[in-house]
Subunit: 411 residues, 2 copies
Amino acid sequence: MNEKMLKEYARLIVEVGINVQKGQRLVVNCPVDCAEFGRMLTTAAYDAGARDVIVNWRDDYVNREHWLKADDDVFDTVNPWDVQKSLALAKEGAGHISIAASNPENLRGVDPDRLRRFDVAVGRDMKESSRLMMANYCPWCVVSIPILSWAKKVFPDLSDEAAMDRLWQEIFSAVRITEDGDAVEAWREHCNNLETRSAKLNEYRFKTLRYTNSLGTDLTVGMPEEHVWMAGGDTSRAGIKFVANMPTEEIFSAPKKDEVNGVLYASKPLNLRGNIVDGIRLTFEKGRIVDIHADQGEDILRAAIETDEGSHYLGEIALVPYDSPISNSGVLFFNTLFDENASCHFAFGEAYPSCVKGGDDLPMEELLKRGINADSSQHVDFMVGTADLSIIGTTEDGREIPVFVDGNFVI
Amino acid sequence: MNEKMLKEYARLIVEVGINVQKGQRLVVNCPVDCAEFGRMLTTAAYDAGARDVIVNWRDDYVNREHWLKADDDVFDTVNPWDVQKSLALAKEGAGHISIAASNPENLRGVDPDRLRRFDVAVGRDMKESSRLMMANYCPWCVVSIPILSWAKKVFPDLSDEAAMDRLWQEIFSAVRITEDGDAVEAWREHCNNLETRSAKLNEYRFKTLRYTNSLGTDLTVGMPEEHVWMAGGDTSRAGIKFVANMPTEEIFSAPKKDEVNGVLYASKPLNLRGNIVDGIRLTFEKGRIVDIHADQGEDILRAAIETDEGSHYLGEIALVPYDSPISNSGVLFFNTLFDENASCHFAFGEAYPSCVKGGDDLPMEELLKRGINADSSQHVDFMVGTADLSIIGTTEDGREIPVFVDGNFVI
């Protein structure tokens, strides 16, 4: 790839995504296949004044061998040094960059119970650090670059090289990197636009949102009284602005935990725990998922939803127009970072505290009182947007406001 | 490279080097540039029954950036999770494979004081795990595979590809991997030969060994009463045989800490802390290094020797014939694993407890009473063998026995 654009991308991630501060430690979660880009991020971070850069390398092949062949009881525990590391780095407010790049089916054939048990262990042992991350104690940013196994899944008909090139193009387009443009400036403008729209949504104080489309979705989602629609960036506890996802096209909030009712169909396949789950249909009663169906990968989906009590409830509601840049590319990425930013989506599992007023400062018990799903080790986004999606909001005083018509914003 | 030979090498390391046991955890320290081989080791380990494989990836580029650009006080501490991890894994007896493959001059230009201070921190915080490793609580094995920066340093006149190929050939030859041979069987025989010779040396009960050669070396090395010459393999505390270095050609023991006197010239450049140190001359009085000289990299050498009090003393004495396989290749590897197995060598810093009778079971204080250098965070091998090296042993009853004449064993 064009080295100049790569370096611009690394700078964008470090300076806008994490907004690294002088003297701040940075963690980079990076596949070994992305070593060249991991090195660029490292240099960009030091150049921006990082105190130190810790790269957590990982590898699809080694991971797959682990999940398939390690002793069975390994999946019931988290290594204590991994717990200590993630907690210490979250507490000190280190920036966390994660490069989301994997074979979408890397864990195909792995016993779903192993996946479930390890998630339970992570939920138990990593609760404190995970909660700090969710409450923005530390800036974090998820980005992607191509690796071959992923590129070939997205573009199976292209040669290896062409598939990699094409995926790079799609990623650069989604994150606003151009040959001659100023990506930092482009992001500033983009985030402002998202914030303007989320401010408008916040004015409505919706009590419920009703989703319907021709897939069969008919879902009514209650909203907490003090809900906040967020978009375009977050602020860490130390007051540092950061952008948690690049790309980001969503405006998101948290539903009221026990006021979700109806049937919800996913509109795209979901890359979940190294597997593809497709044809998802979930039925909700008083917020709880009471029926789980998937045409493909149902056991994987079921194991994820059944990880803990909180993972049976929604924790995020997010709006993305059908007519938006990533959606218009027509590419199915099999990577949630991209697919969720091409489509309205929900997540089951824990809500972001910032989705209720002052939530980042509230303990779990208070967040639960505010009505959001504040106690789960899971947070799994899945896509529900379609070209004919209708969303009608009802305000506290009973007015019905069309929010989405034919898949797009109308407010 | 020939895939069959690579797999045989991986199997050799796992089954003979570490001799991995069913249900035992394995740690693999692996450069990201060696990912393919790291994957092969992972599979070989699981196939041999490993409980789990933890790969600690590292990268020369990221390391160099860290050493050059991180905040200065970073080098005074070790991250507590790294301490916990290495201690827990040593205590449980996990096998530790390290792939020694780096640019020999990767840290050229780094402030030697940073290197020294971090070694002091490691010595302080990693003392317990380091001691467990030295005393063979867990099987460990150091091996190498080529990376480009290293291959080009060894064969600067060859093309990238030819340099990599040539280094592979040299490594395979040194570790007895052939197209059709049985490397496991070849190693069994090789280790037996080394053990036979070390048994012979043990019978002499040398009181001193006097080294002289035309470089100017004239050094008398006292030996502890209960010294043991070791070779060809070790036994872990759990009773598992393992081979700590592949290749290994040495017969080694520990000198008496305070009975080393004279002048010692190194015969090869030394790759030390990412730098090349050459033209080393050390002067000893009552065991202590009292004068340090190097034509190149003296500051790096001085920083290493001055890490702690114990690093001013020798901790290992090792015999390798000038006429031996790696030496006869005529290749200067700039990698201690190979260069030390082509040459008689010493190490300054901590001795292996097993070099005195029953030493693996003795606490540090007892080892010091036995006369060996048992308290240092350092263990740095350096090469002293030449074609004209003479070593004359003196037994307890005053007999003078030629051990080496013209660089080779004569007993």
